[in-house]
């Protein structure tokens, strides 16, 4: 009887050699006359252990990692297919502390199933939310999302149920659901992992959203830097259509929902929702003024729900398990779970999904194991390139939208980038401006030109040219960008700059 062996087909796992490991496993098994059934699962998100391979034994799935091609023969020598002992053995996968201590909702299936096996998805509770939704009215679904307390996971944390209510209440001949999968923030990869490891969850969530607000078409805008995620998602959509979960008659309900994945083209600004809509319509990704809100006049001028991947994926679990179950997780007004992403100079990088409320320090130290370099943590940037830098003594901050906002920081999409004490914060501040130069859509002058001037001013400060005057100028420039830009690109670029200047004045010559 063949033994199932799992090797992730995930981008990071493959960047670390998973394809070669998979080929070596097949080759070794063949040469030894052993029968294996190789499954390319998604990753569990424990990226520091990739390639992490798993073997299905009589005692459940056991893990080995990180495995290189050179280890494969020896693993077979030590009875890999029976879960044999080996220095790379990690024991039962579910009991790896990093995984065991998480509360996985969005990522419950990640790495467990073959992402393109619809039976796997159903067997692990998939489409239970859609079944429930099909028996409810649109208003009842929207009410459940409101009760759950779900807030937008893209960064702005706007209550999803309120947005949906607006779309539901706006009469139109056509409405749309748009998923923002333009995950451009450095230090974030949760959307990518979900698209590659459990894409059907997103398909299900979007279908439920369509039923809720009366939308019959959905688009998923995936960034072009994620070719693998795009390919898996497209295949998943085709599977769902084949099995009747998408199309003119969703699950025999007589209701229609069509879904299409579209590729971005390397513009960070298209993660901003109005710019994304422009891009989907086939134009330059220039930000639109709001109002009108996309919920009233969105894609092609029609009422549109625009939500992040994790927001829409959460909907499937909320419908399946109930709004009250979901809101019991989390704290304050930040309810449910938040998949945090540990990145940068971190020993144990990966996805850590937890109810809101854990401290940033516990996340970095207990899960992350400190820096990869072994040097002290000096700065942490949370929430992507527009998020504030925090100093090492601010890490007791709880992971909660309001607690971060009170500290003039933001949780954003949950990316945590750790820097050790070799970082030059003036260089980081300069980069924040430089990034804005490269990625500004150009609509607002403070963003388009202010960022260019910002690079120049920081260069003068670093060169010790009229330092005090230029620090004042930088402060005023940040004010102009913050108050004079339409969207978060120009409006929030000052956040990392200001935080670097205020918390690390010694790097600016103070």
């Amino acid at each position: 009887m063949s033994v199932r062996v799992f090797v992730p087909g995930d981008s990071t796992a493959c960047a670390l050699g998973a394809d070669q490991v998979a080929a070596a496993l097949v080759e070794q098994a063949r040469s030894r006359g052993l029968d294996i059934d190789l499954v390319r699962n998604g990753s569990r998100g424990l990226f520091w252990l990739e390639p992490l391979i798993e073997v299905e034994t009589t005692a459940g799935r056991v893990a080995y990692g990180p495995v290189s091609v050179a280890d494969v023969a020896e693993l077979f020598d030590r009875d890999l297919l029976a879960g044999g002992e080996h220095p790379l053995a990690l024991g039962p996968t579910e009991q790896i502390p990093y995984l065991q201590q998480q509360t996985r909702v969005n990522f419950a299936r990640a790495g467990v199933i073959d992402p393109l096996n619809i039976d796997d998805y159903r067997r692990t509770g998939g489409f239970a939310g859609l079944d429930r939704a099909l028996a409810l009215s649109g208003q009842e679904i929207v009410a459940a999302i409101k009760t759950s307390g779900l807030r937008g996971r893209g960064g702005a944390a706007f209550p999803a149920g309120i947005k949906w209510q607006t779309v539901l209440d706006t009469a139109a001949d056509q409405k749309y659901i748009v998923c923002n999968a333009d995950e451009g923030d450095s230090g974030t990869f949760a959307d990518r992992l979900l698209l590659e490891a459990d894409p059907l969850q997103l398909v299900e969530g979007m279908t439920i959203a369509g039923l809720a607000v009366g939308a019959t078409r959905g688009y998923i805008y995936v960034r072009s830097e994620y070719p693998r995620a795009f390919a898996v998602l497209r295949a998943a959509i085709a599977l769902a259509r084949e099995d009747g979960y998408l199309g003119p008659d969703v699950c025999g309900s007589g209701r229609a929902f069509e879904l299409e994945a579209r590729l971005g083209a390397g513009a960070y600004i298209c993660g901003e929702e109005t710019s994304l809509l422009e891009s989907l319509e086939g134009r330059r990704g220039l930000v639109r003024a709001k109002p009108p809100l996309p919920a009233i006049q969105g894609l092609f001028g029609k009422p549109t729900v625009v939500n992040n991947v994790l927001t829409l994926a959460s909907v499937a679990a909320i419908l399946a398990r109930g709004a009250d179950w979901y809101r019991a997780l989390g704290c304050g007004r930040s309810l449910g779970t938040l998949p945090m992403q540990l990145a940068g100079n971190i020993k144990h990088g990966g996805v850590v999904e937890l109810p809101f409320g854990m401290s940033l320090r516990a996340l970095i130290e207990d899960f992350g194991g400190g820096t990869a370099s072994g040097r002290p943590v000096r700065a942490v940037q949370v929430g992507g390139p527009l998020g504030a830098y925090l100093s090492a003594d601010e890490l007791d901050l709880p992971l909660d939208y309001e607690a971060f906002a009170a500290q003039r920081a933001m949780l954003g999409h949950g990316g945590v980038v750790v820097f050790d004490d070799s970082v030059d914060m003036a260089e980081q501040a300069r980069f924040a401006m430089e990034f804005c130069v490269a990625e500004s859509c150009g609509k607002c002058t403070p963003c388009r030109i202010g960022s260019v001037r910002g690079v120049e001013v920081i260069d003068r400060i670093r060169a010790d040219t009229q330092r005090a005057d230029n620090l004042l100028l930088l402060k005023e420039l940040c004010d102009t960008m913050e108050y004079g830009s339409l969207c978060a690109m120009g409006g929030l670029t000052p956040m990392p700059v200001r935080s670097a200047v205020e918390k690390f004045p010694e790097d600016f010559g103070a």
Partner: protein
């Protein structure tokens, strides 16, 4: 490829995709996929098919970093410049790569073998520095690891 073949292929793409709502980006992607770039000569045909001005089509091509109007080198090297990779040595790697290839970002080597491009995040932020060569992503790329990649592509130090 001669101009006639390119024109025929552009016409084929337009035929297949022009009916899509918001068809311009899918069309540009498909043309670049087939021809390696979006030639200036294709712009009038795209504009005509979508009832746009040539300026509008050009404006979209030039807005997005992904689209190129000239053929790239035989291999495209994309180096992540974003924060998570900076935290693990991307700046030193950038200097090394530019020195090894002898070009700056946006340029192609004289022998036409490599085009070097910056990229702001490849979603591999737990295992940087990240480099993508053609369609293959590489993790934890040290200067030495980059030299090994070059060696595999037939470039010796």
């Amino acid at each position: 490829m001669d101009a006639d073949t390119a024109d025929t292929r552009v016409a084929g793409v337009l035929d297949r995709l022009r009916h899509l709502p918001g068809a311009l980006l899918p069309i540009l992607h498909e043309i670049q996929h087939e021809l390696g770039h979006v030639p200036a000569a294709a712009v009038p045909a795209i504009a005509a098919a979508l009832n746009l001005s040539r300026a509008e089509v050009h404006g979209v091509i030039s807005f997005y970093h992904h689209f190129r109007i000239a053929p790239a080198g035989a291999h495209v090297v994309q180096l992540c410049r974003a924060e998570a990779c900076q935290a693990v040595g991307a700046r030193a790697l950038e200097a090394h790569v530019k020195q090894r290839l002898g070009i700056e970002f946006g340029a192609t080597t004289a022998d036409g073998k490599f085009t070097l491009e910056p990229v702001y995040c490849l979603g591999n932020c737990a295992c940087g520095p990240s480099v993508q060569v053609d369609d293959q992503l590489h993790a934890r790329v040290s200067p030495q690891a980059f030299d090994n990649l070059l060696a595999k592509l037939g470039v010796n130090s």
